[in-house]
Amino acid sequence: MSDSRPGDMEIERRKPSFWRNLSLAWLIPIAALLVTLFVAWQTWLDRGQTIEISFENAGGIVAGETTLRYRDVIVGNVESVAFVPDLSSVVVTARLDRTIADSLPEDAQFWVVRPEVSTSGVSGLTTVLSGVYLEADFEPSPGAAFDRFTGREDAPLVEPGAVGTRITLRAIDAGQLSVGAPIFHKGIEVGKIERPELLFTRDGVVFDAFIREPYDELLTSATRFWLTSGLSLSLGTGGLDVSVGSLANVVRGGLTFDTVFSGGEPIMEGQVFELYENEDSARSSAFEDPFENTVEMSVEFEESVSGLAQGSAVTLRGVRIGTVAAINARVRETDERREVRLRATLSIDPGRIGLPADVGEEGVIDFFSEAVRNGLRARLGLQSMFSQSLVVELVNLPDPEPAALVTLPDTPPLIPSVESELPDIGATAEGLLTRIDNLPVEELLDQTISTLATIESFVADDALRDAPGEFVALLADARGVVGSDEVQALPGEISGVVTDLRAVTETLRQAETVANLVEALNSVQTAAQSVTDFAGDISGAAGEFTDLITRLNALTEKANQLEIEEFLASARELLDSADALIDTEEARAIPQSVTAALDEARGALEELREGGAVENVNAATASAQEAADAIRDAVETLPDLSVRLQRLVREAERVVASYGSESTFSRETLNSLREVQAAAEALSKLARAIERNPNSLLFGR
């Protein structure tokens, strides 16, 4: 058991150093850690910056899905959609690329792009599949880094990044325009209008319009805008002309602009243009609107200028020569006190006064200083009777206080002013109203009503209604009288008598038997006796006739003097009397008596002719003489009768003429009266012939 080897020593082994034993494999987790940290850091960097955009409503925006694009490149993502504490709007939190977020200016615009179908076309169609997205538009300004914005409700009409000029248009109403309506220049679309907005300060609307580059260079102060409906109708000598523009133009309406006169000045961004109804008014506006080469003058007023405004007219004896450019108050130091005066600056167009256009400021000032010396003064006047708007009137006063144009170094020359003759409109209006109030309107109405009632009852009166009827009946009576057979027959009978007489005398003339003369003379003697009797009869008849004529005369005279009603009454009376008269036996008997007398005469003459007793000639001649005397006596009344008859006819004619020349009644009456006249004339002739030569009655000469 002798084992020389030393026993096992309890040794503590040298521990290998921790670092020496460390495996290289540990580098791997370190590398992995580094890579992971790097990836994490990179990712964190890539997360970008959040911004908050508030919208009225977040239609279609989905957190985590909706992207945010700038120039149609995705630059961010919506992280959350939340309400503001009072729930009045939606806040969309979006994470943006850091480079984009750093350049966001304060006025960056965000809106939701949705699919949209409108009159101007279809837009945002890709969003049908991909969902809505947010679009941003801004002018990059590095370092601005704003992060709170208010989103737009709709996309701006001008596409982001478009270059051009924005102007403002002013119109009476926007009825024919819709958002996005195109603006044309010579038929080429060069811009668009944006949403019209109501103007609260004055009647009308304003809207922004955008004219794209390079067309915006066409805009000058001489540019005029007018509405084009796309549909034009014109009716001329060439017929009806209908022209229809593009459908979009018809639906949306549109504007056209053109330069209407030369020499316009370049415009600024945001220039205001008037929008005219049509091309004519736009072009004609060039001659009325702009004031050119204006020279500034000023006026100070002591009274209130309420009603005078910027743009009010400046008139020279009623003609507009300029406009009020500004009104302001200034304190004027006088010796005793300080007072506030209101100063209006006037822009005056020398061309309107008649000065040459190139007269220059000095020329205008010279003109006014001379005019002021001659009595030109400024004062306030009413624009119209019913408006409170004021204008500045430049008037020539006949005998003004001497004054001169005040030329001040820093302000326009001052035209002296006089107190205006403004009526106190308020008081006047009140007075007018009071007076209107005091008018006895109700009384007047009552009276009118009662008057009308009276008129109504008067018109409704039966008597008044009957009056025309009675008149007609009267005329019918008169016509009946005149048309009665007796009266009609009267002239015929008279002419018959005359014819008979003519035949008798003819027979007498033709009788050649002198041998029978004696017999005849015998007969003549008895005949003459009869004739004498007859002549007495005639005289009686003539007396009655005379009586009739006298009555007619009196009647006619009366009729002449009477008013129409009385005349009518009298006429009726007359006609009744005439009727009655004519109706009397005697009147009817007249012709018969004459006829009978002539028959007897004829019989007597025949007896004479047959007798032929010459020896009785003397006796007969004596008797004849006697008879002739009797006849002459009788006949002597005949001229008188005929004269009266003529006079009657004239009177009657006049009466009838005054009554009415054209009626049948008057015509018939006239005719019958004329025949009466003719009969009277024949009687008169007969009487005269007998008178001249009574023997002719016997001997037919």
Partner: protein
């Protein structure tokens, strides 16, 4: 057998001062540097290999974090882009009712990797005696870990296949996210970690080598 082994005092190669080649199994004396047959460098089973295991395991754990945090798949469907993480994808699948698929994905992407981490860590700890475990059980665990390792790439395969197949431009596009790379790395690291584990150590713990010079 185990108990029998204990009773008969098995002498391990390591205990006998020998070292076996890890690739061909030829036994060499203790100091040999290379295998005489296949030329594989010989190393004694010591703590260095365990360090490698830990290093790779930790690396795998590190990259497993982004694999779960970052999106695995970026799916663009009709313009809508959705990012899916692994767990998010599982939840989505489950919500859509695809429980089977959800379970598969969950097991393959979460349970297995985590199990692997746990198993490797457990083995490594058991070697350094912090945890006591029967040697045979440890060996079974090691075999399981090695076997499962090749299947845990299933996620990466799915992503790779999807992204190459589903490229319909607008309607549907699938892109691999950062997590896919991380996950692949994680799987690879754990595989390397498992490979680095020297199974001889399992038995060394059970049968510690004798002190030098005690034999012969």
């Amino acid at each position: 057998m185990e108990d029998a082994g204990h009773a008969t005092q098995i002498l391990t190669a390591h205990a006998a001062g020998l070292a076996g080649c890890t690739s061909c199994g030829k036994v060499h004396p203790g100091g040999a540097a290379r295998c005489l047959r296949c030329g594989t460098p010989l190393s004694p089973p010591d703590g260095r290999s365990l360090q490698k295991v830990w290093a790779w395991l930790i690396a795998g754990l590190i990259v497993y974090i982004p694999a779960n945090v970052f999106p695995m798949l970026q799916t663009t469907n009709l313009g809508r882009t959705t990012d899916n993480t692994i767990v998010g994808g599982v939840v989505d699948l489950a919500e859509h009712g695809d429980y089977g698929v959800a379970v598969i994905v969950f097991v393959a992407s979460v349970v297995i990797p985590l199990g692997k981490f746990a198993a490797i860590a457990y083995l490594a700890l058991s070697i350094s005696r912090t945890v006591r475990l029967n040697a045979d059980r440890r060996h079974v665990l090691f075999v399981i870990v090695e076997f499962i390792g090749r299947w845990s790439m299933i996620d990466v395969f799915v992503v790779a296949i999807l992204s190459s197949l589903v490229t319909l431009d607008f309607t549907a596009t699938v892109k691999p996210g950062i997590a896919a790379v991380s996950f692949a790395l994680s799987v690879a690291f754990t595989m390397v970690s498992a490979l680095s584990f020297d199974p001889r150590l399992i038995w060394d713990v059970e049968y510690p080598p004798r002190a030098k010079g005690s034999e012969t």
